[in-house]
Amino acid sequence: MKLGVLYSGGKDSTLALIKAQQYHEIACLVTVVSLNKESYMFHTPNIDMTLLQSQAMGIPLVRAVTKGEKEAELEDLKKAIAEAVKKYNIEGIVTGAVLSTYQASRVQRICYELGLWCFNPLWLKNQVELLHEVLQKGIKAIISGVFAEPLDKSYLGAAIDTPMIERLAKISSTHHINPAGEGGEIETTVLDAPIFKKKITVTKHSTTYDNYSGLFAIEDAKLEDKQRNSNGISSVKNQRFST
């Protein structure tokens, strides 16, 4: 069946997409941009990167903006999913939900009301295993936000790689944080994956950090061809993106 993926641009929704694609056609991505920084449902740093990620994957994006008021933002999500149904004939939604019964049950309810299937292929997955699967599947993600002690500035912009997974696993045992950031401790942005026909290169960014809360804000990024030319240099296309 044709499915839409609730896509935030981070490691979880990208991994969920890759898993769902093994069984079904991914017809579109659905992104809700919340203007409320306190939103429980949608707030994600660098959410506008989904525009570039959509181009990189060659999967169309249905994008909605919400003020982020508590129940109204669910109505905005429902409208965005309904638009995806209309435009791309999707029969179901895929999410990257892992632990949050708050988020999962709200998406389940919207899918029920719209008569759609709801798939959560990462549901209750062990978070260290999840991080390893992100690597195994070739997803290149960076940490684009930290929101908990003892995450310091050095995490911002750092790649999710094997040493980083070991580091996160270690601090999760001493500081009661979720190693994959399922409690909102860490946000990630995916720059490349095998499903990306082009990779994303960050050309301008800024970092802000104070008291265990920081952002790696991508201000400018571009798509680059992944196949190297005869000189071994990636050729750069003129698809630029600015926030």
Binding site: Q22, Y23, S105, Y112, W117, F119, P121, L124
Partner: protein
């Protein structure tokens, strides 16, 4: 060995409804409900019939007639409880609950006690003459066959109440 029976029409749903249960049980086999044969049931010590997606109703067309002769402990979760109820002649009713709800244990039993929060995801239920073990908002949500060790649980214990699954398996 614990036999986990999948009711999922879509394989993609099994990441969500089978794998979290399988992770809690060291020695298990998994089989789809459309393929269950006496040879699968015979080596099992206990059986869990797992749930599936809200949109999925194909399991209601499958053959669970083996349940009537089954002398082994069985735990039906969500869709699993529905097929148990249906197999013992209970008519299912449409009743939707999505998300965490409070559960009150109303009869002493081996799987749960007192009160707790549990994750619900169902559009049908049915309890008939089964013994009610627990309720949520006044509606039965855990049941047991009056004679057999056959339990039904309309919520998903693998989400917020792993101890129910561990207690059943022990």
């Amino acid at each position: 060995m614990i036999l986990i029976i999948s009711t999922c029409k879509e394989q993609l749903s099994e990441f969500e409804f089978i794998r979290p249960i399988a992770l809690l049980i060291e020695n298990h086999n998994t089989i789809h409900c459309s393929n269950v044969k006496p040879a699968d049931i015979k080596p099992a010590d206990k059986i869990i019939i797992a749930g599936t997606a809200l949109k999925d109703f194909d399991y209601l067309k499958e053959d669970f007639s083996w349940l009537k002769d089954c002398e082994k402990p069985v735990l039906g979760i969500c869709a699993g409880m529905q097929v148990i109820a249906k197999e013992f002649g209970v008519e299912l009713e449409d009743f939707v609950t999505i998300g965490p709800q409070k559960v009150e244990v109303t009869a002493e039993n081996k799987l749960a006690k007192d009160s707790f929060n549990a994750y619900f995801l169902h559009t049908k239920t049915g309890t008939g003459d089964f013994k009610v073990l627990a309720t949520s908002n006044g509606k039965p949500c855990m049941i047991k066959h009056n004679e057999k060790e056959i339990y039904g649980c309309i919520f998903h214990p693998e989400v917020m109440n792993e101890e129910i699954i561990r207690g059943f398996v022990q």
